[in-house]
């Protein structure tokens, strides 16, 4: 029993650290989840569909983008491509974090289903002085996952009683949210050029050709602009 004790305490300690680290992000996600659910039902999704999307996709950015451009019937390939563009960052995040976790290969394939920007960033910070354990990761993942599925579903149920989101400007909330998220990427020259080119190309394509093509064309133009603006000095 004595030998089991240190292990148990380190497990508990790591789980506690995970809960403590993720709490601010989880609390901040509640109103955003409620909003997501409310706007999603405004776009024609049922609360069950909202719950299913949150449970299976579990990626805020991709879900926001999908709902913002949602039409019925759903354009499956365009949505899949948009989701890929938004989530492709996960490849680099996962590659960076994987060696810093104390998990078996099978555990990693389960654990990384739950990888979010928040849990990734917190784990990278924790990995600076100790490995990321299963207890730490599981505590963060469980809180964020239950939090996200519950708040988005609740938002969907409440939203169906509230009616048209445009009445209180909730239709603009995503636009404002995305502007806030973009600001988080800073004001470097490359970022500003990327944002400007992407915005102009997306607006033009949306005006002359229509949804959902503005997302891919605007994004690809912005990425190309970043590649060109970064210039040869970045390659040195």
């Amino acid at each position: 029993m004595d030998q089991a004790n240190p292990h148990m305490t380190s497990y508990k300690r790591d789980a506690k650290a995970g809960l403590r680290d993720i709490a601010p992000a989880a609390i901040a996600a509640i109103p955003i989840g409620l909003l997501f659910g409310a706007v999603a039902v405004g776009k024609g999704l049922s609360p069950a569909e909202v719950a299913l999307m949150s449970a299976l996709v579990f990626a805020g950015g991709a879900q926001f983008a999908a709902i913002e451009t949602w039409v019925s019937p759903a354009p499956v390939l365009a949505l899949a491509f948009g989701t890929f563009l938004i989530n492709v960052r996960h490849v680099l995040m996962g590659a960076s974090l994987s060696p810093k976790t104390r998990l078996s290969r099978v555990e990693k394939f389960i654990a990384f289903f739950f990888m979010t920007d928040e849990s990734w960033a917190l784990s990278e910070r924790r990995a600076l002085d100790r490995p990321v354990t299963a207890a730490y990761w599981a505590a963060m993942a469980a809180v964020l996952y239950i939090n996200w599925v519950t708040s988005t579903t609740l938002g969907a149920v409440l939203g169906s009683f509230l009616g048209d989101p445009a009445r209180f400007g909730a239709d603009f909330a995503f636009t404002a949210l995305f502007i806030g998220l973009v600001a988080g990427f800073g004001r470097s020259r490359v970022t500003l050029v990327t944002v400007a080119v992407s915005a102009v190309v997306a607006a033009l394509v949306h005006y002359f050709i229509g949804a959902p093509w503005h997302v891919a064309s605007g994004a690809l133009a912005g990425i190309a602009a970043a590649y060109i603006t970064a210039g040869k000095e970045a390659d040195a």
């Binding site: 609360p47 983008a65 759903a74 354009p75 499956v76 806030g180 490359v190």
Partner: protein, 99 residues
């Protein structure tokens, strides 16, 4: 509590793509080190996509939305995310009533 077949397909496609991006890093760990322009292009993907999604609403749907988007962008660098959203929503409601 209904689930449309096409919507279900879209959700499954989004889920599969997302899971693939989450575990792809496990397969290429230690072999994926982007540098220079390639890294700049990769880092530009999230802001480029986010902006492309909202550009039609922010730029071409009307003056209230365009002005509210500009106000939101100004405060976005100073306020936390949730406060930024509140400012944007309040601005668009006021502008729609007074423009």
């Amino acid at each position: 509590m209904s689930i449309d077949t096409t919507t279900l397909l879209a959700i499954l496609a989004m889920a599969l793509v997302t899971y693939a991006t989450r575990v792809a890093g496990l397969l290429v760990a230690d072999r994926l080190a982007l540098t220079g322009r390639a890294k700049a292009a990769f880092d530009a993907i999230p802001p480029a996509v986010l902006v492309a999604v909202i550009a039609p609403t922010a730029l071409t749907s009307g003056w209230p939305e365009a002005i509210a988007a500009a106000i939101t962008a100004l405060v976005a660098f100073r306020l936390p995310l949730l406060a930024t959203v509140v400012v944007g929503v309040v601005a668009v409601v006021l502008l729609r009533n007074f423009l």
